[in-house]
Each structure stands twice: as C-alpha cells, then as structure tokens.
C-alpha cells in the first residue's frame, strides 16, 4: 500500500512534467498545425543556457530559470518567424522536416558549445529528499512539490490568458480560422509567433525543472529526446487538440509509467510510452478529450 502511494506521488510529479511538455506541443499544434519535433531540442538548449549560468557562472537558480524561459521565448518566436513561416503554405510535411532540422541543429550546436561527451547535472530548486511520514520517507520531496505547483500555476495562467483575455481570444481565433480572424482585424502572424514563443517559454521552464530531478540529465542527446516522446504521448492521449486533455494525458501517462516501472520492469521505460501511444492511436485516435472527432465537411 505504501509502495502504491509512493508510485502514485512519483507518477503525478513526472506526469506534471509530461503535461507541460504536452501542453507546449498542443499550443503549437493548435496555432500552426505542426507537431514541433524541435521542442525537445529547444528545451535542451535553454536548459544548457541555465546550466551554464548556474553551474559555471554560479548565478542563482532563479536567475538561471528566468533567463532560460526568456531564451525559450526568443528561440520559439524566431523559429516561427524565420523557419516555419516560409513553409507555412507548403505541404505539412515540409514544416515537420523543418522542425526536425532545427532539432538536429540545436543538438549539434549544444554539442559544439558544451560538449557531447559529458552529461552534466543540474541543481534542484529545493531539497530532493522526500518528506517523512513517521518512519517512512515518501517519494515526494519539496522539489517535487515545487514542480507540481509551478506547472499548475503556469497551466492556470495560460488558461486564463486563453479564455479570459482579448489577446487569448485572438490567439484562439487565429488558430481555428486564420482567414476569418484576419478579416476581423486580428494580426494573425504576430499571434502565431506569440503562440510559438509562449510554448517554447513553457518548454524552457520544464527543461530546468526536469534537469534537477536526476543526475546527468543535461546532455545534448538523450534524456530530453525521451522527454519529447513522453510529452508527445501525453498530448496524443489528450487528443493533440485540447490543452486540458494534454494536462490530464500527462498525469495519466506519468502514473502508468510509474506503476509499470515498478510492478513490471524498469529496464524499458520508454517502451511503455510507445505501447500507450500505439494503444491510444488504435483505440481512440482522436484522444480521450477531442472535440473534433465528428468534424463536419
């Protein structure tokens, strides 16, 4: 029973991270109908920037986090403006290839600057030893609590932005129907750039949060790619279309992986994600929360 509780807590913490990556993917998907395969590379790169500040230049954790998020916003905005915009009207595959190219470019660039051979560690924001209940130590630490609260806060802030502000309404209109939005005076191009920037900023935050959860996380290729797989799976569980679905999908996936890891075997964690991904695509290809399943022609 205690083991189950621990696995659940661990699953929720990881799930919040997957949820945030999924949310970043969903925001970009909704805005420009592109699965941003560079998301993992973008947040890897911004995490390296934070690592450089915090570990090499010994700035505070918080300054490094803020700089990473700012860098994410800039990289996301530039990626949309300079790379995605020119292929906007081409076949969808072009944009996918462009994001793959950006991923490889960022991985190579990070390798050139910070080196490929060594996996770096990143300090957690708070203590990573779990809370104690009686004699037991929970697998839930102050740092985990910080992760859950941070992601929840950002999710709520984004929800309010999209649902309650004129800017959010314009962003949704641009995503759903760019031509009509343009007719109504919405400056669609700027809002798509903003959508990418916000998504990448969210990704950058997740990168820094996740880097502090285990040692040797910060490396150009590897852990961040797996993170993209988890985030993508969570987004697909939620239907790729729904921000709420992405969050629920993230937590569901976090729980499944946590249980499977412990009750089955911990050698093949990434594979469980693929199993879930394939199962969802076979059984409910539109996700658990999609509203577009009955799209009319």
């Amino acid at each position: 029973m205690f083991r189950f509780l621990n696995l659940t807590l661990n699953g929720v913490t990881n799930g919040m991270i997957y949820a945030a990556v999924a949310l970043a993917l969903v925001m970009i998907w909704r805005a420009t109908r592109i699965v941003n395969f560079a998301q993992g590379g973008m947040l890897m790169f911004t995490t390296f920037i934070a690592w450089d500040l915090a570990q090499v230049h010994h700035t505070s954790y918080w300054l490094a986090l803020v700089v990473a998020v700012a860098a994410g916003i800039v990289i996301g905005g530039l990626a949309e403006r300079l790379l995605v915009r020119p292929v906007e009207n081409g076949p969808p595959l072009n944009a996918v290839i462009v994001t793959l190219g950006l991923l490889i470019f960022l991985q190579a660039l990070a390798g050139m600057i910070w080196g490929n051979s060594q996996a770096h560690s990143y300090p957690p924001a708070f203590r990573f030893i779990g809370y104690k209940v009686g004699d037991h130590t929970l697998r839930f630490s102050p740092n985990d609590l910080f992760i859950v609260i941070s992601v929840l806060a950002v999710v709520i802030a984004l929800y309010l932005l999209f649902q309650r502000t004129s800017l959010g309404l314009q962003m949704r209109a641009s995503a759903f129907n760019p031509e009509v939005a343009r007719l109504l005076g919405v400056r669609v191009g700027r809002l798509l750039t903003l959508g990418w920037a916000l998504a990448a900023g969210l990704g950058a935050m997740v990168g820094v949060l996740v880097a502090g959860t285990s040692s040797g996380y910060v490396t150009p290729v590897g852990p961040f790619d797996a993170l993209l797989v988890y985030g993508f799976t969570a987004a697909v569980i939620g239907g790729l279309e729904s921000p709420g679905g992405a969050v629920v999908g993230g937590v569901v996936l976090g729980l499944i992986l946590s249980y499977a890891d412990s009750y089955i075997s911990n050698f093949i964690q990434t594979m469980y994600a693929f199993v879930v991904l394939i199962a969802v695509l076979m059984i409910r290809p539109n996700g658990l929360f999609s509203r577009t399943s009955e799209r009319r022609v």
Binding site: S166, L169, A173, L184, G185, R187
Partner: protein, 235 residues
C-alpha cells in the same frame, strides 16, 4: 464612398475579374448579381485585400485600398461577411461577437454593441455562451452579420447571405439590411445569387458575367426588365 475602377484579378491564367468598375454611394445597398463563377466573391475579396488585383484602382473615402493590409481594412470601417462558414464554430456566440469589436478598446461601448446585437438578433441571445457549431444555418448567418456590425462599419460587404437558408430567414435578413441602411445609413455591397430578394432591398445593382459587368443600373429597372431577368438572373 467606394470606387472600384477597371479591376483585373487573375487566378493563374483565369481572369476572374476582367475590368470591373463600380461606384458605391454612401447609405445605399448595391447588389452584385450573377451566376456561379461570375466573379462576385472575387470582387469582394479584392475590395478588402484578401486577393490583390493585377490592374485597376480601388479607393474608399479617397484612400487607396490596394495599399492597405487586410487586417487594417476593418479598422477603416469596412466589415466583410464571408461566404458560408464565416463564423468560428469552435468559439462561443459571445466570443465570435467580441472578435468583431476587437480593436475598439472602450469596454462600455463594447457592452452596448453586444446588447444591441442581441436585441437585433434574439436567437443569438439565447445561445450566447454556446459554441457556434450548435447554431442552425440561419443563426450562423445572423451571427456572421452581427459580428460584422460589432465593428460599427460604415461599409458592409456581404457574400451570399441567403445561401442555404429558408426563404423566410432570407427575408428577415434582407429586412434587417434595409433597416440598417434606413436607420444608420449603413452602406452595403450585397453579393447574391438570389437575385429576386437582393433586388427587393437594393438601390442599384450590377450583373457580372465571366468577370465583366454586363448590366448596371437602378435595382428597380433591373427587376422590371424581363429580358434581362431571363438572361442573367433566372427569374
């Protein structure tokens, strides 16, 4: 108010508009009639800058529309109700309406316009917080028109408002247009295939055929000319 001169718009080798000229006086309704593919929709899209013409001039209140970006056009007082699926079905009725008044920052004016629209189109008021995809065809058309009116336009470009609607609903929409012209001196360019109902509310009309203006004149004269009606208007 609106002056279109010798406009040529092409899609590849197709000359969708082949030298179209029309002048629209303030406070009038101008019907643009013709068969499918005559260039009616292209004319509206060229006026508000969704497509750029190869030749010709378009001016609105003495300003050059050809050098105005699409999203600026609405700020100049021109609202466009596109053909068919003009409403954003994923958004609620209320959100669609708010989008119409985006660039008006005054909150109380916005509320006032919302109230006016719900009075003008009561079916919308009942569903203000429902997604627009729950609306019927007629209600969607009302929503598209109401959303255009939210920007307090001086010129309204309407593309086939009667498309797919029951005659009774079409009649209501035409009556609303007449009222807006009479009470608020709104200027309307009305693209229609349904020539009979369009002519019944219009002041002047032009008939397009294969991208050219084949007839133009006062709406009453066109409606009275039997030969013309048979040749181009189908009634």
């Amino acid at each position: 108010m609106l002056k279109v001169e010798d406009v040529v718009t092409t899609y590849g080798a197709v000359r969708a508009l082949d030298g179209v000229s029309v002048t629209v006086e303030p406070g009038t309704i101008t019907a643009v009639l013709g068969a499918n593919g005559a260039g009616k929709t292209t004319l509206l899209r060229t006026i508000n800058g969704l497509v750029r013409p190869r030749e010709g001039r378009i001016s609105y209140e003495d300003r050059d529309l050809l050098r105005t970006h699409v999203d600026e056009v609405v700020r100049m007082g021109i609202a466009h109700v596109p053909e068919g699926r003009g409403v954003i079905t994923e958004l609620t009725v209320d959100e669609n309406l708010r989008l119409g008044a985006l660039w008006r920052s005054n909150r109380s004016e916005l509320q006032q316009s919302l109230t006016e629209m719900y009075e003008l189109f009561p079916p919308l008021a009942e569903r203000r917080n429902k997604p627009a995809d729950t609306l019927s065809g007629g209600e969607r058309q009302m929503l598209a028109i109401a959303r255009a009116l939210m920007s307090r336009p001086r010129l309204l470009l309407l593309d086939e408002p009667s498309l797919g609607l029951a005659p009774r609903i079409t009649g209501q929409i035409m009556a609303t247009l007449r009222r807006l012209r009479d009470e608020q001196s709104l200027t309307v360019v009305l693209v229609e295939q349904n020539a009979r109902s369009a002519l019944s509310v219009s002041d002047q009309a032009i008939v397009l055929n294969l991208g050219r203006v084949v007839v133009s004149g006062p709406a009453g004269d066109l409606a009275a000319d039997e030969k013309l009606r048979h040749a181009y208007l189908g009634f």
